[in-house]
């Protein structure tokens, strides 16, 4: 986690490249995330890359249900020189879950963006191959959303198979 001065410098350089990109910082014990606007994520990541945070360790989706905007994406960055981590985060709504893909500039985000799409329905515009990665391609819904029920699928046994629609397919 960067100290206060470094964090201020990072936020300053983010603001210098795009004046209204930064929304705020989210602090937890041992971790700090800079919240940016979804549309400015590609530029913001480039600014942090120039500041030494050149390794994108993890990209993952989060559902903040019932808070709005519900969906979030975290970008965990690592500076190998300073041995320090900082995160970028952003929020989008379920009605408009579009955000720019960072895969063209960070190839390591490819699978992880696909997973976030699969699990949360986040649509990464500009991703070269945005398909489901873990769930079957005909699956409906995005199972990691907090309002997605668990145990919603009937289990097929011989005694109830006739009651399950289209079991013979």
């Amino acid at each position: 986690m960067p100290d206060a001065a470094t964090l201020e410098r990072l936020v300053g350089s983010l603001k210098a490249s795009d004046a209204d990109s930064v929304i705020g910082t989210v602090e937890s014990p041992g971790r700090v995330a800079i919240e940016v606007k979804p549309q400015s994520i590609v530029g913001s990541l480039e600014v942090l890359r120039a500041a030494g945070y050149g390794f994108l360790a993890s990209v993952h989706g989060i559902d903040y249900y019932p808070n709005e905007p519900r969906l979030g994406v975290d970008y965990e960055l690592l500076s190998r020189e300073a041995c320090d981590r900082v995160a970028l985060t952003l929020r989008v709504s379920t009605e408009d879950p579009h955000l720019p893909s960072v895969t063209p500039s960070w190839p390591c985000a490819n699978n992880q963006e696909r997973e976030a799409f699969d699990m949360f329905g986040l649509i990464f515009d500009g991703h070269p191959d945005l398909r489901r990665i873990l769930m079957p391609e005909d699956y409906e819904g995005h199972p990691q959303r907090r309002d997605f029920p668990i145990g919603g699928e009937p289990v097929l046994f011989t005694h109830n198979e006739h009651n399950v629609p289209r079991w013979f397919e």
Binding site: L56, H60, R80, C108, Q112, Q144
Partner: protein
């Protein structure tokens, strides 16, 4: 019985979608050469689990490689959200099923970061001992299975003999061979039993020699060498671009190891080296892991020599269960026990990302807490999933036999990829 005539049924949406797909004979050409698309897996002995590889071949040469995941997806991240923090440990351990101590460590570390709890020194050392034994075990599984893929079956038997010893040690310390649930939030579940240290020392005394034996078995095997040396190399620059970490990155000469650069769980106390390769080919990937086994033995020995006394789990009764004898005498202990077992611990709101050096690279666990007793999000940044992104870059342009060797050297564990 159903009386619906199958011919008169209307097609479901999915069947319609399926019918609209033309599995046609569109042949791909490269110049005047016809390409063949071949489906390797998901059930194939050389894919280490249920990894499906879609390969486009020009003769025997790979032109395109596309790994397809999801055949082992069990929704562990979703399941973990339904359980209280300490009950999520067993499911998290089952993600990458060969390195369960690492999974538990990453998850517990993330929750401990949120709780801001101090881990007793003895617990940190016990964690290090188990993590390093697990690293040896994981590398032995890698060594055995990948040598098996290349036709060297005897190495497999030898590796699994040592692995069996390790599993016995795990069983002795925790009661389970695999998925031990030994790491708890705040420390480890209980102290090691009498005689365990001697058993571990006995193992540490023979393991370096055994590692040399395996090295000799393979290093003097002409078939193995020809299939490994200078095969599918990738420079460190490309690997970093694809987010590759761990032994694969070190094989290319980049000495990045979180145990050294960002120490956790008292790794700064130990003296060990980071083996690196020079070329980044398959041979280096194999050698780096073999050398890591010996370094792990060194760490275990040092940890055993300097194992501090003291508690093995935090004294904070809001996090760790009180010892059994207190329940009979202390009302508070009984209340804490009841609250922990029924509801679980409440974790302050916040987010944590805790990364450790797993057996395959950076294993990061992201946990978000909404203030309740269940995690609102558990995400594992599994090195297998990220590392596999570099497999096409490594294998394209090489023979299909080299690709199988490379997938073996990438050592993906599909339980970790799919979770």
């Amino acid at each position: 019985m159903s009386t619906v005539d199958p011919a008169s049924r209307e097609l479901s949406e999915y069947r319609k979608m399926e019918a609209s797909v033309t599995i046609s004979e569109t042949t791909e050409f490269e110049g005047d050469r016809e390409l063949l698309t071949l489906n390797l897996g998901p059930h194939h002995p050389a894919t280490h689990g249920v990894l499906r590889l879609l390969v486009t071949l020009d003769g025997e040469v790979i032109r395109r490689l596309q790994p397809i995941f999801g055949y082992l997806h069990t929704g562990i991240e979703k399941t973990a959200e339904q359980k209280s923090y300490w009950k999520a440990i067993p499911v998290v351990e089952r993600m990458d099923y060969v390195s369960y101590y690492f999974n538990a460590m990453a998850y517990c570390g993330a929750v401990e970061a949120l709780l801001e709890v101090e881990i007793p020194k003895r617990a940190q050392y016990l964690r290090v001992i188990h993590l390093e034994l697990n690293r040896i075990m994981s590398h032995l599984v890698f060594l055995g299975t990948s040598a098996l893929d290349l036709g060297a079956i005897s190495v497999w038997w030898y590796c699994f003999r040592e692995r069996e010893t390790l599993l016995d040690l795990f069983e002795m310390s925790s009661g389970q061979r695999m998925h031990t649930r030994y790491f708890q939030i705040g420390g480890v579940i209980e102290d090691i039993p009498e005689g365990w240290i001697e058993q571990v020392r006995k193992f540490c005394a023979i393991m370096p020699e055994r590692a040399d034996t395996y090295g000799d078995l393979l290093n003097k095997n002409e078939i193995f060498l020809q299939r490994q040396r200078d095969v599918c190399p990738l420079p460190a620059e490309t690997l970093r671009e694809y987010g590759v970490t761990g032994p694969l990155l070190r094989a290319a000469g980049d000495p990045w190891d979180l145990r050294k650069t960002m120490p956790y769980s008292s790794y700064e106390d130990f003296d060990f080296k980071i083996p690196v390769g020079t070329k980044g080919d398959n041979y280096d990937r194999f050698q780096v892991r073999l050398a890591e086994v010996k370094e792990s033995v060194k760490i275990v020995v040092q940890a055993l020599d300097n194992l501090p006394d003291g508690p093995t789990i935090t004294e904070d009764r809001k996090i760790a269960l009180p010892p059994r004898h207190e329940l009979a005498t202390s009302m508070e202990a009984l209340i804490h026990h009841f609250k922990l077992v029924t509801e679980g611990m409440r974790v302050p709101e916040g987010e944590a990302y805790y990364a450790i050096e797993g057996a395959r690279g950076e294993l990061g666990c992201f946990v978000r807490s909404d203030g309740s007793s269940k995690p609102a999000r558990v995400h594992m940044r599994d090195p297998s999933l990220v590392n596999l992104q570099a497999a096409p870059a490594a294998a394209e342009g090489w023979l299909i036999a080299d690709m199988l060797a490379t997938v073996a050297m990438f050592d993906p564990i599909i339980g970790g990829v799919d979770r």
